[in-house]
């Protein structure tokens, strides 16, 4: 279908583009920018005046809960949520049931996602069989089946020897390794950031050293093997400082942050609100400030939603028993825009953090509106307010600490390979 997107503010950080103009889509690709391609006849015209036209967002962490956790969410519900959030590509972690450690599962997932056709799904494969930290997975087979990287999801990292060998093996074949820096021993039993709030509330804490020790371990192994690592969900000021220094040293690292951590901190747990139970935990105000600064100066490369739909039953329990995580695909845009507005970050930088840079980290097709690229677009009103409510969220998970809050930034149209997969 020939789609003309007329008069929007077209922002494409990959080309340094930020101007009001038109975009022309044909045959699933960007057929023209500014001027229509020859013999252009639009079959659909989208009036984008007052809206921003950007490459579709790429979310580095969105749990789709299939296979295995269909009571929490399904591919259908979560991919619809992705489309509603302007997310055209997402990486899903391997902690499904069974875990994504077997090519058949990966193929099935990709196939089902293609059929649903609401977003591109990039599975992250398990680093070890069953995520048990013992045996390596057949990374090459998994990569062939469609895995773009390998990780241990939120399961404690395997022991250092196993991790060392996993990096070496992955490095041989240039597979990407993603790791969450959390030392399982220091984090054991903890449900909140180890600080004043946890002390007051009587919650077992996870000290910052759980993150810094894991980072130090990872950096040492990266130095030794030369294999690059993507660090998932940095949460502390000390962590950001360490990543900054490691990057300055020249270590091949990239790093992301959960968009919730840019806005919330441990005080937001309030009276034991289980919706504020996240992993890594929301830390202190100093940590939040450092995360925002780290994102602004490039220490942190990208922002993700860390989307984790959780059943009501698993959240309406005492804080320490609640399953951690928040539904986030539909909040990625408004919360990123909120950070950008508050810290005076130009819109292209904000979009780079949720589209351009994540695509680069994933190693998939660049998120760009260059002629010839896949027509994956998010067209949004950056100032449109909406209230986050159970009935306004498409995700099956209604677990967000922003429930009842008014946010700004609404996706009006999402195009996937030139097809309109979401419109308001």
């Amino acid at each position: 279908m020939n789609v003309e997107i007329k008069g929007g503010r077209v922002v494409d950080p990959a080309q340094d583009l930020d101007r009001v103009t038109s975009v022309y889509v044909a045959d699933g690709t960007i057929a023209g920018l500014h001027d229509p391609p020859p013999h252009w006849r639009a079959e659909r015209v989208i009036d984008a005046h007052g809206l921003v036209v950007a490459p579709g967002f790429v979310d580095l962490a969105a749990r789709l809960r299939e296979p295995g956790f269909e009571h929490k969410a399904t591919l259908a519900s979560e991919l619809a949520a992705a489309a509603a959030g302007g997310v055209t590509g997402l990486a899903c972690p391997p902690d499904t049931d069974p875990p994504l450690d077997e090519p058949g599962l990966v193929q099935m997932l990709k196939h089902r996602a293609r059929v649903i056709n609401q977003a591109h799904v990039y599975p992250i494969g398990a680093l070890s069989l069953g995520l048990a930290g013992q045996t390596l997975t057949e990374m090459s087979e998994l990569a062939e089946a469609g895995c773009v990287a390998f990780s241990h999801a939120d399961v404690p990292l395997p022991d250092t020897q196993m991790l060392f060998r996993a990096l070496q093996y992955a490095g041989t074949f240039r597979h990407r390794v993603w790791l969450r820096p959390q030392d399982s021993h220091l984090a054991r039993g903890g449900v909140a950031h180890d600080g004043e709030v946890a002390t007051r509330l009587g919650l077992p804490g996870i000290p910052v050293s759980a993150e810094t020790i894991a980072l130090a371990t990872i950096f040492a192994l990266v130095r030794e093997t030369g294999v690059g690592v993507h660090l998932c969900r940095i949460s502390s000021a000390s962590g950001v400082d360490m990543v900054r220094a490691a990057k300055a040293e020249g270590l091949p690292l990239t790093c992301d942050v959960d968009v919730h951590h840019l806005h919330l901190c441990d005080v937001d747990i309030g009276w034991f609100d289980p919706l504020a139970n996240l992993m890594p935990p929301l830390r202190g105000t100093r940590d939040r400030a450092a995360l925002r600064a780290g994102l602004a100066d490039g220490t942190i490369d990208a922002v993700c939603s860390d989307h984790a739909p959780v059943d009501d039953d698993d959240k309406q329990v005492p804080f320490g028993e609640a399953e951690p995580g928040a539904t986030g695909l539909e909040l990625l845009l408004p919360l990123t825009l909120k950070w950008a507005a508050e810290d005076d970050v130009p819109l292209p930088r904000a979009i780079a953090a949720i589209a351009t840079r994540p695509a680069h980290i994933l190693g998939v097709a660049p998120a760009t509106l260059r002629r010839g690229s896949a027509a994956d677009l998010a067209i949004f009103d950056p100032t449109e307010p909406w209230v986050v409510r159970r009935d306004t969220l498409r995700s099956q998970g209604k677990n967000t600490p922003f429930l009842g809050i008014e946010v700004s930034g609404r996706v009006r149209y999402t195009l996937l390979a030139g097809q309109v997969v979401h419109e308001l």
Partner: protein
């Protein structure tokens, strides 16, 4: 959940979940109400008809015969009907959620839930759920949630201190032992700081101190002798045997040597200092028998006062 769910619109006590944030006037009202209740224990018929027809459900998700018994006695002395629920054996073992259990019991016309749970925040969850589902006539009393709070213990500790020392103003109170895991300590600290005690000291090895504990308004002393100097009140906390397993402490013996209350350590406190303990005591671990049974110990009166304080809490909470 941002509003303090404990107080109703008129500042009356609706739930008792934590002493944190409870105004001094409310605490004083509880202590004043408890005083005449002490004498009910001295009567032939140890009962008054105040809560006749009210149903008090003891919802104990964590075992405790002591606390449950004192609440049961308190409720029965007010002529309330008491139902004890041993939750571990029943519903949640079968997978029924905490809130479902609460809903079922409300359907059986519960008026007051006395809740003990191993998770911090459980009574808050229940109270919020009751408020959200329009059951403003059902009240929650926290009988201990995880490490977070044990407000009735805090109140009876305050009552005991007030009974022997009159004013909180000039008092130096030392709390000794496993502060990290102690809801008793947290509640007492909040109560004492609200009532403007001169100084609250916590005495423990670093492994048993919560992170940034000074933010609660206390002074830390790692040396017990230094910490006890000039104290008016010494509160000894119970040390649980599990602490030895988690690499928090090497042994009960070493703990007793460093932090156990003996006659000679007590001598460093003021000559008229009182010794308190929430019970049950581990003799020879946190406290020496000579001190526990000695003249300065007010441990047994604490128990008596505990019943009166709980009667006061139940009457004030059930009050419209």
């Amino acid at each position: 959940m941002t509003r303090n769910p404990q107080l109703d619109r008129n500042g009356g006590l609706r739930h008792l979940i934590t002493l944190e944030g409870l105004p001094a006037e409310v605490i004083t009202r509880v202590l004043d109400t408890a005083e005449p209740f002490v004498s009910v224990a001295e009567r032939e018929v140890k009962k008054v008809p105040l809560l006749r027809g009210k149903a008090v459900f003891n919802l104990f998700f964590e075992n405790s015969t002591r606390t449950r018994t004192t609440f049961e006695i308190a409720a029965k002395r007010l002529s309330a009907d008491v139902i004890n629920l041993n939750i571990g054996a029943s519903s949640t073992a079968k997978g029924e959620t905490l809130l479902d259990t609460v809903d079922n019991l409300c359907a059986m016309n519960a008026d007051i839930f006395v809740v003990r749970h191993s998770q911090s925040g459980a009574p808050h969850l229940i109270a919020s759920h009751l408020d959200a589902t329009g059951r403003s006539h059902v009240h929650v009393v926290n009988a201990g949630d995880g490490r977070h709070a044990h407000p009735t213990q805090g109140l009876l500790d305050l009552y005991t201190i007030r009974h022997y020392k009159r004013d909180f103003g000039g008092l130096v109170v030392a709390v000794v032992g496993d502060i990290l895991h102690s809801r008793v300590a947290r509640s007492l600290i909040h109560g004492l700081t609200t009532m403007r005690a001169a100084e609250v000291r916590v005495i423990a090895p670093r492994t048993l101190l919560p992170t940034r504990v000074e933010a609660l308004g206390v002074r830390v002393a790692s040396d017990m002798r230094e910490g006890l100097r000039g104290c008016d009140v010494v509160v000894m906390l119970r040390l649980q045997s599990e602490r030895m397993k988690g690499a928090l402490l090497p042994s009960a013996g070493e703990f007793f040597k460093q932090y156990g209350l003996t006659q000679d350590k007590l001598a460093l406190a003021k000559p008229d200092a009182i010794v308190m303990h929430p019970g049950p005591m581990n003799r020879g671990v946190e406290i020496d028998s000579a001190v526990a049974d000695g003249a300065r110990s007010v441990i047994l009166p604490q128990v008596t006062f505990g019943i009166a304080v709980r009667m006061a809490v139940l009457s004030l909470i059930a009050s419209p």
